[in-house]
């Protein structure tokens, strides 16, 4: 090995603490890059393959009922390549150990020949027999949640009739990647079932013989989806069509897309932050080394080493750290990517999902690390080149403090010599100190920002379930009912309060901006479910007009005072024009609220309700839910507690889990910076400190000079980091927020305190490591060395 390379390795070993700290920062950046972009490719690719293989339809439409003869008409629409009618119905699954029956959806299987579109993926067992009337497939995720296997029977209420069905197999479907119960945002595998049944028997159960109420379309190459949708709507209008929609509006796909988009944003924005910090650290560490090796560099040049040879020696140092960090990051990235897969298979029903690292992410990760490190290295090289070979011949000159602060004023007189040394040290290299402050503040900001988000998830849940929706359970009816239905619920013993709601599914439109959703009509003096403003005060629902959630107002780009078009997709399908009265704070979904009376008036219908929120006596809850579920008019009961639990799971294990990683990662940065800052201050002050000791200052006093600067840096960096962290938390919240949930932001003192204490702890550990080193070095060695 060349002597210079040997020097390189020994020097790296000498500062291994710093090397490891920097490599760790790089590794974490690359880890995130590799993991996130790998997840993006894996999810995107698997989703694409799954859709293609199992022929997910391009356009979907629901309707009340149409005779099979209409399918031929639909097939005639230009651009439509395939049409398939289905029967679909709401059902309830009764499990012996579940007090509340579980909402379910029954979907028909094509009897003759193969299913053309939305083919199920059989994970276990076999398809139901051709002629069998009571054989079914069951959604695999649901079966797993309840330990149900093929061969078992299932008690199902369909259209009011109880039936016992035999499970022949477990299945998944490309339209159910994200399987949440209707009207719910969060999937709960235990509380939502899908069953597939032969079409004839299902049609018999739902009075749909010779008819269909759902239709799937595959489009031909080059077909215009909006045009086809228009044509479909005009055909299905008279059959009670609720409006055809494309894959983009398929709830399941929408969620997957949101997830992928979120990951992509993170993969693009977070890792560069780490690499920038690492580049900066490498720059100060290596330029520090170059500074202290001025004479060695001069010497090498004096011996005839070229600028290139000397420069590459220091450049290699940068490259080794960058490459090592990046390599470790790649490996850890693959490992953590693999570890994340179960999280995704838990929330998304992929039949197969393997973590496939994106090869370009290695190239980008390693390349960017090396590029970032090189950028830092190039600045250093400039110095190496500029160094005069005659430098080696000259005795070292004392550092120049001539252009620095004097302490003449009254404040100055109060300072003792060690304090002056600290201040002069800072004044002499203001940029370096500023950069260190910026770095530590950045780490602190990242950590405060992420911790705030962590707290926000909890706040969000808290607000959702204690302020916005305070009901214990929601009862959904099969069809819109008169208000008497609410009275009936109120008569069940133990039900303390009933608030009827009418949900009208509609397309909300403001000019070209549209959103498929629902309008909730609620009673004027609602207590259990409220729209709230920014300060958490309930917003009274107006006599006329609509209150939109912030998320919805953002999507529609509409403001209070403007008119909103509501294209109702049920009943007589009126098109309503209502003024937007207020915008409410929203946390989950994209709700829109109206007064129940006002909504019914606009719909020109007598008072109708579709669901009711309940407050119940907790002691009798289970019994009440069982009674309610047995009512023929009730489609399902959702218990707030279950909902909250599934939301919590989503936060903890799903997309929200990234925040833990981010938290750890922010801490790594802080430590990397603080430790390096302390180390560099130490090497710079080593001689001064030893001199102080010789003059009779105690170890503690000497350490004060060293750690004082660090203290000053922290004193400025922590408050600055807090301010930056506040801004950052708003940005991150925006990035994390989706239609599914919106993360509330604000200054969270706890989070900032938490981040500050870690930052300070990181500083203290670094300071301690350095001081321990200081105490161990023999005075004489330091004084004898040239620096």
């Amino acid at each position: 090995m060349k002597p210079l390379d040997r020097k390189l390795l020994r020097d790296l070993n000498h500062i291994r603490g710093q090397v490891i700290a920097i490599a760790a920062v790089i590794a974490v950046g690359v880890l995130l890059q590799v993991m996130m972009s790998g997840l993006v490719t894996s999810l995107t690719e698997t989703r694409r393959a799954y859709y293609e293989r199992n022929r997910l339809a391009n356009v979907f439409a629901s309707l009340t009922r149409a005779p099979d003869s209409q399918l031929a008409i639909l097939a005639e629409i230009p651009g439509v390549a395939r049409v398939e009618g289905r029967v679909r119905g709401a059902a309830l699954v009764n499990l012996p150990d579940e007090a509340v029956p579980i909402q379910a959806r029954a979907t028909s299987l094509e009897e003759r020949g193969e299913q053309l579109l939305n083919q199920v993926y059989l994970t276990e067992g076999r398809m139901p027999g051709q002629a069998s009337r009571d054989e079914i497939l069951l959604l695999a995720g649901f079966a797993a949640a309840h330990d149900i296997a093929p061969g078992d029977t299932l008690n199902v209420t369909m259209n009011g009739a109880r039936r016992t069905l035999r499970i022949t197999g477990l299945a998944q479907s490309p339209e159910l990647l994200y399987a949440a119960a209707p009207g719910q945002m969060v999937p709960d595998p235990a509380r939502f079932a899908v069953i597939w049944m032969q079409r004839t028997s299902l049609a018999a159960a739902y009075d749909m013989s010779g008819a269909f109420n759902e239709v799937l379309f595959a489009l031909g190459r080059g077909a215009s989806e909006p045009e086809v949708i228009d044509r479909i709507d005009s055909v299905l209008d008279r059959w009670g069509g609720t409006g055809a929609y494309g894959r983009d509006d398929l709830v399941s796909d929408r969620f997957v897309q949101e997830e992928i988009a979120g990951l992509e944003t993170m993969a693009r924005s977070v890792p560069p932050l780490f690499l920038a910090v690492a580049a900066f650290l490498l720059y100060i560490v290596v330029s520090r080394i170059v500074q202290s090796e001025r004479e060695e560099i001069g010497l090498l040049k004096a011996f005839g080493y070229t600028n290139g040879e000397v420069g590459s020696h220091y450049f290699k140092m940068v490259l080794i750290v960058a490459t090592a960090g990046a390599a470790v990051g790649c490996i850890l990235g693959i490992l953590s990517g693999r570890a994340m897969i179960p999280v995704y298979t838990k929330f998304y029903n992929f039949p197969f999902l393997v973590f496939r690292p994106d090869p370009t992410s290695f190239v980008i990760g390693v390349g960017a690390s090396i590029a970032a490190a090189s950028a830092g290295g190039l600045f250093v090289l400039r110095r190496v080149f500029a160094l005069d070979p005659a430098e080696a011949m000259r005795p070292p000159a004392p550092a120049d403090y001539s252009r620095t602060v004097t302490f003449d004023g009254p404040v100055g007189r109060m300072l003792d010599q060690p304090s002056r040394m600290i201040l002069r040290g800072v004044a002499r290299r203001p940029w370096r100190v500023a950069a260190l402050i910026a770095g530590v503040a950045g780490g602190m900001a990242l950590s405060a920002g992420m911790t705030t988000i962590y707290g926000s998830f909890d706040t969000m849940q808290d607000l959702s379930f204690t302020v916005i929706d305070r009901s214990d359970a929601t009862v959904v009816f099969n069809t819109p009912l008169s208000e008497k239905a609410a009275l009936e619920l109120a008569r069940v013993p133990g039900v303390l309060r009933v608030e009827p709601t009418r949900d009208v599914s509609a397309i909300l439109r403001n000019g070209l901006k549209t959103q498929r959703g629902a309008v909730s009509g609620m009673i004027a003096d609602t207590e259990l479910s409220r729209a709230i403003d920014k300060d958490l005060r309930p917003i009274p629902l107006p006599e006329r007009g609509i209150v939109l959630s912030q998320s919805l107002a953002d999507i529609l780009e509409i403001e209070p005072g403007e008119m909103l078009t509501i294209e109702v997709r049920e009943g007589r399908r009126p098109v309503l024009e209502v003024p937007v009265v207020r915008v409410a704070r929203s946390l989950i979904g994209t709700p829109a609220y109206m007064q129940l009376d006002a909504l019914n008036r606009e719909m020109k219908e007598p008072l109708r309700i579709t669901s009711a929120r309940l407050m119940v006596d907790p002691a009798r809850a289970d019994e009440i839910y069982a009674t309610l579920s047995d009512m023929p008019t009730v489609a399902g009961v959702t218990v707030a507690e279950d909902l909250q639990a599934s939301l919590q799971r989503l936060m903890d294990e799903g997309a929200g889990s990234a925040r833990y990683i981010m938290g750890v990662v922010a801490f790594v940065i802080t430590f990397g910076i603080v430790y390096n800052a302390a180390r560099i201050a130490q090497t710079e002050l080593n001689r001064d400190l030893a001199s102080l000791r010789v003059m009779g200052f105690s170890k503690g006093e000497a350490a004060f000079v060293l750690l004082g600067e660090l203290g000053l840096i922290m004193l400025v960096a922590v408050p600055l980091g807090s301010v930056l962290g506040y801004g950052l938390s708003i940005l991150i919240a925006k990035g994390f927020s989706s239609e599914i949930y919106q993360i509330p932001t604000g200054f969270d003192p706890w989070s900032h305190g938490f981040a500050a204490s870690f930052t300070l702890a990181a500083a203290m550990v670094s300071g301690w490591l350095v001081k321990r080193d200081l105490d161990r070095t023999a005075l004489i060695d330091v004084l004898k060395s040239r620096e």
Partner: protein, 234 residues
């Protein structure tokens, strides 16, 4: 007698205007090949500056320097680098060893890029450090470190050896050992040795003594009889 160096009208000015320092104010000199030349002078008289220019470490402000038929004052940085690489060895007052390399590795640093080097062990043996090849600088005394520095400078078998106060940081006994090595290098390798010192006694072992004062040559003296390094006292 072949001439190694010829300098004409050499000046060197540091800085500009009123704060300018005239380190050399017109130096003419000739240095014959294969001799030991000692430059004497008070501190600040320009000895190091002259040595650095002859050694290709620094540019002169005006004037010319030739090493044999190479005009050093015409060379750019990379030309000077090549000159130093191919022809010159240096020994400094502060040893300037790489602390993270052993004695042998410090020598290898130079043999690595030389055309016709001796083996590092051989160079170290020449300076009497055969037993200490694997020691790090921190494990060596000042005199030993300086001898490693000399071994490093001679290992490439340079035609010229520049030494700036090689004994400046050493006591007389160790200093004498260093001088002995330099003398031997001159005799065995035939290298021209240019040594800067402010210790007048060392001049006794030189073939030729150049006295500098205030950036100019005051006196050039040819020694009829030379002292052996052992006889040098200071």
């Amino acid at each position: 007698m072949t001439i190694a160096f010829t300098a004409k009208g050499l000046t060197k000015t540091y800085g500009e205007g009123r704060s300018a320092v005239h380190a050399l104010r017109g130096v003419d000199l000739e240095i014959p090949q294969g001799e030991i030349v000692v430059m004497l002078g008070a501190s600040g008289s320009g000895k190091s500056t002259l040595l650095n220019i002859l050694g290709g470490l620094d540019h002169a402000s005006t004037g010319t320097v030739h090493f044999r038929d190479i005009c050093l004052t015409d060379l750019d940085d990379s030309g000077l680098t090549r000159y130093r690489r191919e022809h010159v060895g240096f020994v400094f007052q502060f040893y300037n060893l790489m602390p993270s390399l052993t004695a042998r590795e410090n020598v290898e640093l130079v043999t690595e890029i030389a055309d016709n080097p001796m083996r590092p062990e051989e160079a170290l043996e020449l300076v009497g450090l055969k037993e200490r090849v694997d020691h790090f600088p921190s494990q060596l005394s000042g005199g030993e470190q300086q001898r490693v520095a000399i071994a490093r400078a001679i290992a490439k078998q340079p035609e010229v050896l520049f030494c700036d106060e090689p004994t400046g940081a050493l006591d007389s006994a160790t200093g004498r050992a260093v001088l002995r090595v330099l003398n031997e290098v001159n005799q065995r390798l035939g290298a021209t040795v240019l040594m800067v010192t402010h210790a007048a006694n060392i001049a006794g072992m030189a073939h030729k003594v150049i006295r500098l004062a205030d950036g100019q040559i005051r006196e050039v003296e040819q020694n009829e009889t030379r002292l052996s390094p052992e006889e040098v006292v200071w």
